[in-house]
Structure formats: structure tokens, C-alpha cells
């Protein structure tokens, strides 16, 4: 094996992103990459290209049993902190004694039940008020929260449907679109995403008119597209909101 240099890096980079380097070469390649962080972006871009192969596979449905098995492990690990709480209780049991602990527990229970009852009564009154208020505004605007990768980056967006078919997309904390790109809104009906307006976030928040009717649509989504917009979405949606109930 020759020492790694720029020429050898160029020779091996495609095999590296495809996972096709033997172990020794892979380690040497990665050491070179660590020593030359300026090459990292090129490798990430090339990895994205190689990763396209993953999108080409025919769809297969995993069994519900697989989900159950995974969630059983996850839930088992998520409740571990409760185990330490049990240990703390066990310590208290030993320190105070069972009789005192039982009396204290009963007192806390009575106080807790009383407070809970008061709280519930308050909530019922509040809900009754809200129902009356909604009943008196049958055609009021509806707000649908959008979710997706964008929200993972701190963005927040809602689709506000107005009278008739009109709707406005209101977004906060949207990151600026990359150079030469823009945000594009899509109204999705059945299998067809309809281009429904472009927008550029300016400041903390932005409101954009949705240019197609949303009534009867399945969803509204936002993607990043080349300047001027696209006829069909070319990237993953940053945000998606389901319109139909």
C-alpha cells in the first residue's frame, strides 16, 4: 500500500463512499480525511450521490412484529430511570419504617385527590367555555400545523385556511434558502403536487399566500427548489401538513 496523498485520495474516494474499500485502505483514507478537513464537504456530497442507490429499491412492508420488538427494547430502556426511583423509595422505606411511611402516604393521597378534583372542575368549566365559543363561530379560520425536517431545525409553520378556498402559510424561524434556491409551496391532491407559490423568509416570520385552493386537498407541503420554482418537487419536503381529517 502506497502512502496516501491527494492523487491517491482522488483515486479512492468513489470506492470509499460506496463502502468498497478494504479495511486497511478505508482506515488510511479516513486518517487522511481527518488530517484534511477541507476535503470533508466533497466526501459528504459524494456520499449523498452514492446514497441515491438506497432510494431505488422496491418498497417492502416490514411486519408489525418488528415494530413491536424494537419498541419493546426502546420502552424497556426508557423506563430505566424509574428503577433508580424505586431504589430511592426502598431506601426511604428502610430509613423511616413501614408504618410512618404508610401514614404519610395516605395523607399525601387525600390532599392529592382533593387538589385533583378542584383542578378537574376548573378544566371542565374551561372546556365548556371553549365549546360554546367554537359553536358560535362556525366558519372561523382553521389552523393546521406543519411538521417535518424544517421543524427539527427550529422552524414553525401553520397553514391558516380562510373563508372560501383561500389559505395563507405563516412560518417562523425558517432558515434562509440556500444561494440560488427558494422555498416553494405545494398543494397535494391525490398523487399530484400542484406548485402553489414561492416565498423567501425575511426576518423572523413570513406569510405567503397559497396560490391554489386547499379545499379537498390531501396535504400542503414546502420544499426548497431552484430559483423560479419547479413544476414538480425535486427535494424532500421541509414541512408537511395534512389538510383532510
Amino acid at each position: 500500500m502506497n502512502g496516501m496523498d491527494q492523487e491517491r485520495f482522488e483515486d479512492l474516494k468513489d470506492a470509499y463512499v460506496l463502502g468498497a474499500l478494504p479495511e486497511e485502505e478505508r482506515l488510511e483514507f479516513e486518517q487522511y480525511l481527518v488530517a484534511h478537513p477541507d476535503l470533508q464537504a466533497e466526501i459528504e456530497e459524494l456520499s449523498t450521490i452514492a446514497g441515491l442507490l438506497a432510494f431505488s429499491v422496491p418498497e417492502q412492508e416490514p411486519s408489525p412484529e418488528l415494530r413491536r420488538r424494537i419498541m419493546a427494547t426502546v420502552e424497556g430502556e426508557a423506563v430505566q430511570p424509574r428503577t433508580s426511583r424505586r431504589s430511592w423509595l426502598a431506601g426511604l422505606w428502610e430509613a423511616v419504617g413501614p408504618r410512618d411511611l404508610a401514614l404519610a402516604g395516605a395523607a399525601i393521597l387525600v390532599i392529592g385527590l382533593f387538589s385533583w378534583s378542584m383542578l378537574l372542575q376548573g378544566e371542565v368549566r374551561d372546556l365548556q367555555g371553549r365549546v360554546q365559543s367554537l359553536q358560535s363561530q362556525p366558519q372561523g379560520p382553521q389552523m393546521i400545523a406543519l411538521a417535518g425536517a424544517g421543524t427539527e431545525q427550529g422552524a414553525r409553520a401553520e397553514l391558516v385556511t380562510l373563508e372560501g378556498d383561500r389559505a395563507v402559510l405563516v412560518a417562523e424561524n425558517m432558515p434562509p434558502a440556500p444561494e440560488g434556491k427558494t422555498y416553494q409551496i405545494w398543494v397535494i391532491k391525490g398523487d399530484t403536487p400542484q406548485p402553489s407559490g414561492l416565498f423567501e423568509p425575511k426576518g423572523d416570520s413570513v406569510a405567503a399566500v397559497v396560490e391554489n385552493p386547499v379545499e379537498g386537498a390531501d396535504a400542503v407541503a414546502v420544499t426548497i427548489e431552484p430559483e423560479g420554482g419547479s413544476k414538480k418537487p425535486t427535494t424532500d419536503p421541509m414541512l408537511v401538513g395534512k389538510v383532510k381529517a
Binding site: 460506496l18 452514492a50 442507490l53 438506497a54 412492508e61 415494530r67 427494547t73 431552484p226 425535486t234
Partner: protein, 179 residues
């Protein structure tokens, strides 16, 4: 993703519901059988659960991150169990199945898959074969050269040209590569 990082099982369940099928499809393509594919996906998602803090927004989408973990686990399985021979046969014998889910999610996914398949169709067969042997079956470039009885330089050249053509496909359309 933030909630998964702090150990919220419900957020993790939502993450699985969103990406589980794609992950399983990739694992099935690699392993060629249900049980091994499920083992790969299970190990991959447990790894996602335990190392959600390792995900970095700047390094591509959550989906890309999950798929890369699935692929690495798949390659580990293939290399440790040497299942690639029977896997090839089973993959070729199996008919693709497709079960539509909610319309909006399908629309996006279908559009992207259409583009990817179109892009892959622009590749000559010999380039595509080499990309698939490395990506899905875990062969190294040296193993591919031996298997196809080609000089190593030719294998590397076809890998380079294949990836270049995929990139060109998206650049020619001014489209972003799906992540």
C-alpha cells in the same frame, strides 16, 4: 429528533413509523430475506435510539442518517455471515411489492424514486452493476475486480463514471439530490 435524543419513546415510535419502511426496503434489498432484513433493521433502529445525540443536522437528513446506519449494519451481516450468494438469488426471484400509504407521503416518495430510477437508467449496465455490487452486496473494489475478471483500474473508473453520471443527471435539471 430532539425528543428522541432525550429518550422519548413516543417520538421514537413516530420516527420508526416515518422511516421504518424505507429502512426495511433497503435491508431487504441487501439481505434478500425477511428474517435477516428484520434483524438488520432492528439493530439499526436500536442504534439510532441509543445514539440519537450523534445525529447532526448539517450532515444530511434524518432519513439519510438512518439509511446509512441500516446499510452499515447490513454490510456487517453480509460480511460476517457470507450470505451474499443466496441473497442475490432471492432478490432476483422476488417480485417487488408496493403498498401505498397516505397519499401525500407517497407522492413525495414516488417523485423522488422516479427521479432516482430515471437517473440510474442513464447509467450503462456495467457501471450500474459495479455500483450495486459495492453498495448493496458489500463487495470491495478488489473483490469486484476478481469476480468480474476486470482490472482494478477499470472497476474504479466505472465507479467514478457511474457516480459522476448520477450527479450530472441532477445538475442538468437544476435539482437537488435527495437526502
Amino acid at each position: 429528533m430532539g425528543l428522541v435524543e432525550v429518550g422519548d419513546p413516543e417520538a421514537f415510535a413516530a420516527l420508526y413509523d416515518r422511516h421504518g419502511r424505507m429502512a426495511y426496503s433497503l435491508a431487504y434489498r441487501m439481505m434478500g430475506e425477511k428474517q435477516e432484513a428484520e434483524d438488520v433493521v432492528q439493530e439499526a433502529f436500536i442504534k439510532v435510539w441509543r445514539s440519537a445525540g450523534g445525529y447532526r443536522v448539517g450532515r444530511g437528513s434524518v432519513r439519510t442518517w438512518i439509511l446509512s446506519i441500516v446499510r452499515n449494519r447490513g454490510i456487517d451481516h453480509i460480511r460476517s455471515h457470507a450470505t451474499r450468494g443466496r441473497m442475490q438469488d432471492k432478490v432476483e426471484a422476488s417480485a417487488p411489492t408496493f403498498e401505498p400509504s397516505e397519499a401525500f407521503a407517497e407522492t413525495w416518495k414516488n417523485t423522488q424514486q422516479e427521479h432516482v430510477r430515471e437517473a440510474l437508467n442513464t447509467l450503462p449496465h456495467e457501471q450500474l452493476k459495479i455500483l450495486e455490487l459495492s453498495y448493496f452486496s458489500g463487495y470491495t473494489h478488489v473483490e469486484i475486480a476478481e469476480r468480474l475478471e476486470l482490472p482494478l483500474g477499470t472497476v474504479k473508473g466505472r465507479m467514478r463514471l457511474g457516480l459522476q453520471k448520477l450527479r450530472d443527471y441532477y445538475q442538468a435539471r437544476g435539482a437537488a439530490v435527495p437526502r
